[in-house]
Symmetry: C2
């Protein structure tokens, strides 16, 4: 099931770039790191029209394409060379599920957001020869990567648009993410990551999906049956058909690697723990986007960080889909995001 | 541990009233039902100064006393005869944990909010000879009981103050409560309710406590360390010292009975499923109180019900403690509640 899920058939077409042995921030290494990505449009001769869009938790480049890229959209392949890049550990790039013994599964090393960004930097500079990105953007864990890009490589990011995410996790966000982790690892079938098949851990994955469902959307989505637009009938039908259906084919070790990466994200590590100093390094023209109903990354926390970024502005979007409006199921959200991105790209 | 917890030493002094075999709405029965309660103040000769305050999820009459009753408070024993009553299944009134085999533990019958209210009605009318209560109030599951009182016995409730709760659970609230249930029953040590000792289920109880912690308080409580006022240092210290410490001594079957009662509460059963008709029966002067930051019972849902109640008004309270401001740890919340209750009682 996992094999078939992390495939070109479901998530492709995507390319894979080998980056050799890759030293992680922690001091460990990933052997023969591969980064999976998809591109749209054409790189201009002056290499100044590239957009980098890293994936969020449990998503791939495919959902970014479906939700954000296309003719007439802000991310228009007629104008931009758009690189949708898959996180390490998410199944398409090197991951616990795709790495042979003894290096894979529960033994796959811990990865930080900074490791993804360092690998992406090599892809962008060494493979595509791009010195400066016209835009780096991303939602949720994609926002974490966007912040890390803008802080770590300030000269390489002309514009930044972190959406529904934080540069440094708050205590509440860490507590919430830990409940997602615990839902999976508490399943006896998880066996400390040494399960025989991912589908054996379905009870833990279901509980994880239910927690995600209860906090990822706004209560109004359920109470006004906003999911009926997508053809779902009852709460159960939606939770099973949309949320469980998204998570059940995925690999528990992959999800846990991503959750720990999410939980521990913190750009202030670039400045000895000083968040203000780290965000003060950003040179990008930055539009920070928050979703009013976001239960994962509340507006107040996003706004507090935005105020620490020199050349930045806050844009608010409202959606009953809450944090998971990111998925692109809400047309009004998509239109609002396009407006804010177009405004930033025109600057 | 459970034995020692559900005791006079910790929750007393309280009285116990035997009500004999008690037929439940479901058709099942509780043998020798006992209702535990505490009273403060003196019933007036005309029996018109009685206030009934049922307990919320996992709480007892003791916390209601500590948080809401006292000289100078709206619920002043100098003026009112205050009855704090413990829910069936919460450990002090008849409960899975206190009922002998074969009737107790996992075999204890399902109980509805309506059953509590019917038992309380007998206590109030038969034991105290009170025909009409000056006020019925309660928070969370106490609000569910308050609504049931006002709908089921409209002539017996002069005033009502449901706080941070709903007359009928929303789809989102039911989804959320189900995650609390699943956190406990998924612990292999739960053994379908036939655990040897409650403390064996501590892993499930801890996960349940963490879910409660993540959604019961506002994110701001963690992110601004609002818990420092109570002497807690870190998020972990607070979650362990406050939230786990509250739940770990309790009995899993008791908590699950309460959670199912909470999940399924619905006053519209009094009117063939018509919520508007049910709430339209209320004769009480009603002050509905919502907490702006409430993640369990959002303002919008509370307001929608309030508009269906004839002689009612909405009062909003703000607290970083979110839903669990109910516990009384926030002085500003306590003062605001007292103002709203005093206003209602003066009417």
């Amino acid at each position: 099931m996992t094999e078939a899920y992390y495939s070109q058939k479901i998530h492709g077409p995507f390319e894979t770039q080998a980056l050799g042995d890759f030293d992680l921030v922690s001091g460990e290494k990933i052997r023969d790191l591969e980064i999976a990505y998809a591109t749209f449009g054409t790189l201009s001769p002056s290499r100044d029209n590239a957009v980098l869009f890293p994936s969020w938790y449990s998503g791939s480049s495919k959902i970014l394409e479906l939700g954000y890229v296309g003719p007439g959209r802000a991310l228009d392949p007629e104008k931009y060379f758009i690189i949708l890049v898959n996180q390490i550990g998410a199944g398409l790039s090197s991951s616990p599920s795709s790495t042979r013994a003894p290096f894979g599964a529960a033994r796959f090393p811990e990865v930080e957001i900074a490791d993804d960004v360092r690998a992406q930097y090599r892809l962008v500079t060494e493979i595509f020869g791009i010195e400066r990105l016209a835009l780096v953007l991303g939602g949720s864990m994609g926002a974490q990567q966007t912040y890390e890009w803008a802080v770590r490589f300030p000269e390489a990011v002309r514009r930044a648009a972190p959406i529904a995410g934080l540069a440094r996790g708050t205590p509440h966000n860490r507590l919430l993410v830990q409940t997602f982790i615990d839902a999976i690892v508490s399943d006896p079938a998880f066996e400390e990551g040494w399960y025989e098949r991912a589908s054996r851990v379905h009870r833990g994955l279901r509980r994880h999906a239910h927690l995600f469902a209860a906090s990822g959307f706004s209560p109004a989505l359920y109470n006004t049956r906003g999911f009926a637009e997508l053809g779902f009938t009852t709460t159960d039908d939606f939770v099973t058909g949309f949320v469980e259906n998204h998570f059940l084919p995925q690999d528990p070790n992959n999800l846990l690697l991503l959750l720990r990466k999410w939980r521990d994200a913190d750009v202030s590590r670039n400045a000895d723990g000083d968040l203000s100093a780290a965000l003060g390094r950003i040179r990008a023209d930055t539009t920070v986007i928050a979703i009013d109903e976001d239960g994962f990354f509340p507006l107040a926390d996003i706004e507090a960080e935005q105020k620490l970024i020199p050349n930045s502005r806050l844009r608010r979007v409202s959606s009953p889909w809450g944090h998971l409006a990111l998925f692109g199921a809400d047309g009004a959200y998509n239109a609002a995001i396009d407006r804010h991105l177009a405004e930033l790209l025109a600057a």
